[in-house]
Symmetry: C2
């Protein structure tokens, strides 16, 4: 029996009219079969041709921009400016990742020559490069209908290196996903890429979870990319662990993103710090994995007054802020339940309460002492919405204890002034093993897409702290080294041939060649 | 209560006299605590200093060569020439991996500059590099008392990049392991490396498994390297999965290493092929993870006579070969049980039988048709000893079907002559997704230690097909990217400072800098 579902309108707090059809079990399998059939031919397409394919996807997304933005707005309730920025970013990611692979430099070509005279045995010719792993499953994320969904960074990075992709679209934005999938399909046809390099599965309601499990348990899938909740990620890991042949899960599961406000900084710019932090925690209704969820305040010595002023300013911003719709009633109700539960914990003070009066949500500010934080594990759980927990630390020692107590996170931030230098450096060194990205005098939101960016961190931020889902290194998740021993020259991949037809910088006998 | 154990003398088929003391639970914990305490300081030691440390370990191993070789011979029963080669290789690995990190190029330094004028938001300065992940647990392998044990490639690659190591020595060569550990400790002291960067745990008997589990479940351990059986690797994975915080297992679990003997090659050089293959499967009593365990013969057309001659020559070699001791009675009895079970399967023919008369073992050759192989899953299980299964294929189609049926493997080999070109290339393309290393006209044993080598393959060869335990890329298992945003220049790691004090080739704004 065909199962159907509808997306949700966050702005109107009701279902949207369009009915979408859930992928059947056989549709999941067919997408994986087609991806597998396409894999060898797609792996052999040249790097420059795949870069063109990605650029064409960006172009097709641009062509449909108006429809995509309208649909994404209706399905997510996110503000137009935010969605415009996200579409631009999505297109930039495709162009950027195409640029990363265009010249083929990413294959890390290595050549070690033969030595027939070596004793006791001749040394064979050995060459290796990184090659695509095969079909990849990508899960669309609820909070980024474009940049982390159907045509988002996971899809782009896998397609860039030559891996077919099967996307499970997020149930909360099926219409947006269909438009993005259509853009990819037009680009595929235009660029003559093999049929099946891109598959797209819609699902909602009860069928959504089943489609996800069928996809990751399909024997043809070689790796999985997921951006979502810790609970969702662990459930997916469990489904993957049940496979006969294990495959990697690249799960980006959110984070607390601790921010340390040091005394000198607070005294120098409490008002500006409050404004900057509030914008970071409130934008997109706080539905960002880099939202600052934990703020440690140097509430001692000469900074105590500045801390008061900082908190007061933050509360003023919160009171003046507009309410915002959340992605779904489930997101909203879970968040309200978490906040309400936390507010009843001994030692937690609510500085700014959420009215709970409408279907839209306002920012929440809570505070406590470090001792309270360390006594209540519930306070170290992520609250996915526009709020944060201010933790008052009564000494440098407490700030350092706070840093040691932080669970693995995508980011860790220190706001400092010249007077804070020694403490700031000690804190950053302490935070280093606990985060993927360290920030000085900034906020964790706003993830640049460039060669250097790291968007991943020690568990529970990611299932694989050695990987990133954003930036130039994102492609490395979809590659594995393959070694060729004693191959006739013309049988080798172009990247490893003596004549070096792609003009790559290679490692030859262990040295830059 | 202190538990003790003794190593086994394969040559004399009895326990050795020396009594060794098992690490207690608190000793396991202490080693992990010390490694964790050493980690930050060790991560900050310069690349060149760590290269010197590794070179010094090689020197200390050389100083103790006579004692090490004597002890390894007594504990493993491996031939002196093999052990001399292995010690040389172990020392070379240390020197090679030191060379890989000496200049710091492996940190993949990336810089993306700020742009204060960018709209709508200024672009922050973002830089990143690969940093050591922290304490690593290494499991010594039974079959390589030196090169894959206490001072082997896993230890060397982790120490090279700045990760402390805690080794669980293999119960079958504790004396050898102690000598290697002492060499590392002398080098550590000589080079002034932090106390605790190297820990060493002995265990045997019932305590061996418990020590392994305690080690991988210690919350301070960040990754595990294991070379051993599929069963052992899966048990370890289960212990790791029970941790609150997941960590990667880099397990190299052995392989069948299929070899395809094509018609032209057989007709051209059946005798030489048989000699070469026999040496490969028989050396070190076949106790190598790259031993060719499955040989597909092009037994059709004009090659049929050559196949007969090939098989007859192989049998002659087997009959003439000396028996060899195996690493342990458990290895021997398990192997004999597997061979005996296989020989009773319908369709399996024993070309050369093992007498079973002494504690030493002779080579075994079995043969079957492709149909038999595909009907009997037991024939696709690794037999860890001096034997192989010859599979007669009656057509090109059968050879290709054979290639498709091969499970993930460390290597796949094609022996061909000019007449075989088209078939050879199709076979290699079919084998590509199923192996880490493809070999033409050679044998899979003999793993070169160089920049290009890949020693890892799709499951069940490895738990992580994207990693290698040998060669230049082996270091990448112990690194993760860390990103620095808006850092004052002097707070950055040297590798990322504007002045580029280490003179690294870096990626700047996405381009080679």
């Amino acid at each position: 029996m065909t199962q159907v579902f509808r997306a949700w309108s966050p702005r109107h707090n009701r279902e949207l009219e369009t009915e979408h059809v859930c992928a059947s079990r056989s549709a999941v399998e067919e997408a994986c079969v087609r991806a597998t059939q396409a894999a060898p031919a797609y792996a052999r397409t040249g790097h420059a041709r795949r870069a063109e394919f990605l650029a064409r996807i960006a172009e097709e997304l641009g062509r449909d921009a108006a429809a995509i933005l309208e649909c994404a707005g209706a399905e997510t309730g996110l503000m137009p400016a935010r969605l415009e920025g996200e579409l631009a970013r999505t297109r930039n990611q495709l162009l950027f990742l195409g640029g990363v692979v265009r010249e083929g430099q990413h294959v890390d070509a290595r050549i070690d020559g033969a030595d027939p005279e070596r004793k006791p045995l001749p040394r064979p010719d050995v060459r290796s490069l990184l090659m695509p792993i095969g079909p990849v499953a990508v899960f669309g994320a609820s909070n980024f209908p474009l940049a982390f969904s159907t045509a988002g960074g996971d899809t782009a990075s896998a397609l860039a290196v030559g891996c077919p992709v099967v996307v499970k679209a997020h149930p909360l934005h099926p219409g947006t996903s269909l438009l993005a999938a259509a853009a990819i399909e037009r680009a595929r046809a235009h660029c003559g890429m093999p049929d099946g390099v891109f598959g797209h599965l819609l699902s909602g309601g009860e069928r959504a979870q089943a489609v996800g499990i069928e996809l990751v348990q399909d024997p043809r899938i070689e790796a999985v990319a997921f951006t979502g909740s810790l609970r969702g990620g662990l459930a997916l890991q469990q489904a993957i662990s049940a496979r006969a042949r294990p495959i990697p899960l690249f799960g980006e599961l959110g984070a607390l993103n601790p921010v340390f406000m040091l005394g000198g900084a607070l005294q120098e710019r409490a008002t500006a710090l409050a404004a900057q932090l509030f914008a970071s925690l409130h934008g997109s209704a706080g539905q960002l994995c880099t939202r600052p969820g934990l703020v440690f305040l140097a509430d001692y010595g000469s900074a105590r007054e500045a801390v008061q002023s900082f908190c007061a300013t933050l509360v003023q911003h919160a009171q003046a802020a507009a309410t915002q719709p959340m992605l779904s009633p489930q997101h909203r109700e879970q968040l309200r339940a978490q906040w309400s539960q936390r507010s009843r914990l001994p030692g937690v003070r609510v500085l700014r309460e959420e009215s709970g009066a409408t279907h839209e949500i306002g920012p929440v500010l809570e505070s406590c002492s470090l001792a309270t934080l360390l006594e209540q594990p519930a306070l170290l759980e992520e609250c996915f919405g526009p709020g944060t927990l201010l933790v008052h630390c009564s000494s440098e020692t407490e700030l350092l204890r706070a840093a040691v107590s932080c669970p693995g996170s995508l980011t860790a931030t220190v706001q400092r002034a010249p007077a804070d230098e020694a403490l700031a450096r000690t804190l950053l060194a302490t935070l280093l093993p606990r985060a993927g990205r360290l920030i000085v005098d900034g906020v964790p939101t706003g993830v640049e897409v460039n060669s250097s960016m790291q968007h991943g961190g020690p568990f529970p931020a990611s299932t694989r702290a050695d990987s990133t889902s954003v930036g130039g290194r994102a492609i490395q998740r979809w590659l594995r080294p393959v070694c060729f021993q004693n191959f006739p020259g013309e049988w080798l991949p172009e990247e490893l041939q003596d004549a070096n037809p792609l003009s790559l910088r290679r490692t030859v006998n262990g040295k830059p060649g």
